[in-house]
């Protein structure tokens, strides 16, 4: 076999070596290695001479092995997390080798989603590096007969200044490995002034491989003896094969056979959708054979689903009282007495991820074990679902994580990996399942379609005296429980229950909606539609009140304070409210800064141009964005410039962070301009980039300027938070330029001419 070179140079060792040689300590986010010889998989770090924890190894030649336990899909986390280890170790980055972890619970959480890789692993990475540095200093001090307290480190060396001793880390590895692993309390972390890499950043470890075509994605996984599979799936969720005829398919040159895949049981979760697989010598033959299949489907109850009718249902639900999820004061009493109330409906359709690499996975089921190579955001979920689908123990599922050609949340859901495993078990040989773009668009876990009803009464000063907001959307828990119809706290928190305005009377509600397609996380998730509704409605009220949108937004945010969530279920993205309070002062600050950076109110507006502003906190990061648009007489929109300011606490890799926010503006452009998935009789209407267009170079912001607030607050997310405020600011800019209010996305459907 010719496995993937850059994934993991696995060395199969007999039992006992790890137990004898490895020094294991427990830090917060990984579990201890199993005792004795029961080590399922291993890394070079595991077998390095000095191996104080699962993330790190040091060999006598000075090579530092750092294990990237989270997936790389373009956010640079595979580089940035090891950079934290290297910094605390005082290691020379040029002598660091990064290896990708297999799916393994010893690394703690590996689901690379929710913009929390840095936040959740920052401390663990520092401790991992500091532990090794501590041991190297101890080893050097013993060799030199000097107090360890007098020794320090410089780049990859331990130094004792007064005696002029200076020894490379590699030469100390063996001695250090004999020392006890220090307790966490003994570690002395480097002061900020001594940081080498954190806050300065680094380009991707894989940069050269990425520009030379050598980088290995899931699509590029190959194995001797493998066959290729393409699967025809039920066009309607929950559908089943009634019967099928594969005579013509089997005539296609290169096609070996066809195999049915069982439909999922109960809720879809991450199970295969079912259907018929065509197995062939190469990808193209599998596609061709599949085109010749003749399948009769039983579509099941979701055949009743039509997007136009569904939109009306959501809207109707939102116009009636729903479940109250947060309440302050008595909004209804104010509305009853108010002279004029303002109301608006906002709508965001289903959205597809459309990562450039379609779903793909290679599986080998052999001797009761399943080995997988997959572009997955969540290798432990792969282990779980594959174990269940092929009937083996989780420990017998070995998941190699390749690079991901984009993920955006889709590749947290390993249904496609399960398909490969099921087929390999049936075939008794390695199988690579390749999804077409059409499969990717039609069988996604879509970002929820959502309808938001907004209502406000304004006082004499133009500020809202009462505010009501109702959202209705099929919730993500519906993929696990088909009866789940209400928004759950983890998604209502995303820019809805945490509206940051200082309002005397506020009621927030959520209504029921049944899902007819698989709903899932997509970059920024519920923040997309929540921020769109709140930030555009704010802009509407500013104009109604005759106020400048920036001043009005700042007025509503109010004085700096921590939002009190008493009586509200507010998970705060899994972070503690003590470490990550919701500070309106930080939102205010980024808003003021973006006004200044963008020249808000100062730049000249030509014909058909307009500026829009929005501010939003998501994934614990505060962002404000100003978008400038030009709309010509034909309704064609250009985006000459975007300014965005973010406060994500400590930013480890500013360069990668800027890239994420530049990309977020593009991702937001796609959502706002053309993003829409619809269904007719339960089947998805779109299929490829001609009917699910994503933004191209001539359609995106010409210049996106990203400004990072210098902050010592704990690190927060950067992959997702740029998207929500962009979409709202963009639509507000269109209003400023044209006087046309965008309340239903996408803009392409409404038109601006």
């Amino acid at each position: 076999m010719s496995p993937i070179e850059n994934v993991s140079r696995r060395r199969f060792l007999t039992g006992g070596i790890i137990a004898a040689g490895a020094l294991v300590l427990g830090v917060r986010y990984y579990h201890k290695l199993p005792s004795g010889d029961k080590l399922p998989h291993d890394t070079n770090a595991d077998h390095a001479t000095l191996h104080p924890n699962v993330y790190l190894g040091l060999d006598p030649d000075g090579t530092v092995w750092i294990v990237a336990s989270r997936s790389e899909m373009g956010t640079t986390s595979r580089t940035t997390l090891p950079l934290i280890v290297a910094d605390e170790l005082d290691a020379d980055w040029k002598r660091v080798k990064i290896e990708q972890a297999l799916g393994d619970s010893r690394y703690g959480d590996q689901n690379t989603d929710g913009s929390h890789s840095i936040r959740s692993f920052y401390d663990a990475m520092r401790e991992a590096g500091a532990t090794a540095r501590f041991m190297l200093i101890q080893a050097a001090a013993q060799q030199w007969g000097v107090p360890a307290g007098e020794c320090e480190t410089d780049l990859h060396v331990v130094v004792h200044r007064s005696t002029n001793h200076r020894t490379d880390y590699g030469e100390l590895a063996r001695a250090a490995a004999k020392l006890p692993v220090p307790k966490r309390e003994e570690l002395k972390l480097k002061p900020k002034s001594a940081w080498r890499y954190v806050g300065k950043g680094q380009v991707s470890y894989d940069l050269e491989a990425l520009v030379t075509g050598k980088a290995i994605y899931g699509m590029d996984a190959r194995m001797d003896g493998m066959v290729y599979a393409s699967v025809e799936r039920p066009p309607v969720l929950g559908g089943k094969v009634k019967s099928y005829d594969d005579k013509e398919a089997l005539k296609v040159a290169g096609v070996h056979q066809t195999l049915p895949i069982e439909p999922f049981q109960q809720a879809p979760a991450f199970q295969p959708l079912g259907g018929v697989a065509v197995i062939a010598d190469n990808t193209w033959a599998a596609f061709q054979g599949r085109n010749k299949l003749n399948i009769a489907w039983d579509n099941g109850p979701n055949e009743s689903y039509n997007s136009d009718a569904y939109k009306n249902e959501l809207r109707a639900t939102s116009h009636n009282p729903c479940k109250v999820v947060r309440n302050i004061g008595d909004a209804d009493a104010v509305f009853a007495k108010a002279g004029k109330v303002y109301e608006a409906d906002y709508y965001v359709p289903l959205l597809a991820h459309a990562s450039m690499e379609p779903m793909v996975a290679l599986a080998e089921f052999k001797d009761g074990k399943a080995t997988l190579w997959a572009p997955t955001q969540n290798p432990q979920a792969v282990q779980d679902i594959v174990a269940k689908e092929v009937g083996i123990a989780k420990e017998d599922v070995i998941c190699h994580v390749t690079l991901l050609g984009g993920g955006f949340g889709r590749k947290s859901k390993p249904d496609y990996v399960a398909e490969a495993a099921v087929l390999s078990k049936k075939m008794g040989r390695p199988v690579k399942v390749v999804w077409t773009r059409e499969d990717d668009i039609k069988f996604d876990y879509y970002n929820a379609v959502a309808s938001m009803y907004m209502k406000a009464a304004l006082g004499a000063d133009g500020k809202p005296t009462a505010w009501l907001q109702r959202s209705v959307f099929p919730p993500i828990p519906s993929i696990f429980d088909v009866n789940a119809v209400y928004g759950d706290p983890a998604h209502l928190q995303q820019g809805w229950t945490d509206i940051p305005y200082d309002l005397p009377n506020l009621r927030i509600e959520n209504g029921p909606a049944k899902a007819h397609v698989r709903i899932g996380w997509l970059r920024s998730v519920a923040n997309i539609y929540h921020a769109f509704a709140i930030q555009c409605f704010t802009d509407e009220l500013a104009h109604a009140a005759g106020r400048d949108p920036l001043d009005y937004l700042l007025d509503l945010i109010g004085n700096p304070r921590s939002i009190d969530f008493k009586g509200v279920e507010y998970p705060n993205y899994g972070a503690s409210m003590d470490a990550y309070p919701w500070e309106t002062g930080r939102l205010r600050r980024v808003t003021e800064m973006v006004a200044e950076k963008s020249g808000w109110g100062k730049r000249k507006r030509g014909k058909g141009t307009g500026f829009g502003i929005a501010a939003h906190r998501s994934f614990l990061t505060y962002v404000a964005t100003v978008v400038e648009v030009e709309v010509n007489d034909h309704g064609e929109v250009r985006i000459p410039r975007v300014d965005t300011v973010l406060d994500a606490g400590l930013v480890v890799n500013p360069e990668a962070t800027r890239a994420q926010f530049e990309g977020a503006a593009v991702f937001g452009t796609s959502i706002a301009r053309t993003g829409e998935i619809t269904a007719t009789k339960g089947a998805i209407d779109q299929s490829n980039f001609q009917d699910y267009p994503v933004a191209r170079i001539n359609e995106v912001p010409k210049q996106t300027n990203v400004y990072i607030v210098d902050s010592d607050a704990p690190p927060a997310g950067v992959g997702e938070p740029g998207v929500p405020p962009f979409v709202a600011a963009f639509c507000n800019a269109i209003f400023a330029a044209t006087g046309k209010r965008v309340r239903d996305l996408p803009i392409s459907k409404v038109g601006l001419s």
Binding site: E72, G74, T75, T76, V203, S204, D206, L207, E208, L210, V211, T212, G213, K214, I216, Y217, M219, D220, R222, A253, N282, T283, W284, A285, F287, A354, S355, M356, E357, P358, L403, L404, G405, G406, G407, F408, V434, R437, E655, A659, Q660, E662, G663, A664, A665, V666, F667, T669, N688, F689, Q690, V694, A695, R696, I697, N698, V700, P701, K702, Q703
Partner: protein
């Protein structure tokens, strides 16, 4: 038998003449640098050079590639240091990187016909290549660097 040259090496292919060049490169020759993104010529991830022209290999059949000289990312520069590749690294263009091979092949073809493309010419030449991560701003900057300008 179809004869063609891939990265300077003579190859012959006896399979289905309707097979797209992309799958021949990837599945038969094992040259996986060129990527599958859409299969219908809409995204540009599969872009290679056929007789020097940027070409979507996913919609180019082996019949059409017969007798031609095909260059993939693996053959663009033997050291991976084509001016476009160097510029891509200098500007730190890639995020996930999946589309970048196609972007680089497209940009290299552009610069071989236009030494100093304007913004408009860059947009025209590159608008067939989708980047879902949204690296377009850097792609434009990197093309200018490769063209010998400054950012």
């Amino acid at each position: 038998m179809i004869q063609l040259k891939v990265n300077g090496v003579e190859q012959s292919f006896g399979g289905e003449p309707e097979m797209p060049l992309l799958w021949y490169l990837r599945d038969v020759l094992g040259l996986t640098g060129s990527k599958f993104g859409c299969g219908v010529g809409l995204c540009g991830a599969c872009t290679v050079h056929v007789n020097g022209q940027a070409t979507r290999s996913c919609v180019t059949t082996m019949r059409d590639a017969a007798g031609k000289e095909v260059t993939t990312i693996e053959g663009l520069d033997k050291n991976g240091l084509h001016p476009v590749q160097k510029a891509w690294m200098q500007i730190n263009v890639p995020q996930c990187g999946y589309c970048q091979v196609g972007q680089i092949m497209q940009a290299a073809a552009l610069l071989s016909s236009k030494k100093k493309p304007t913004d408009h010419e860059i947009d025209e030449a590159m608008s067939g290549n989708i980047c879902r991560c949204g690296t377009y701003q850097r792609i434009r900057a990197a093309i200018k660097v490769a063209a010998g300008g400054t950012t």
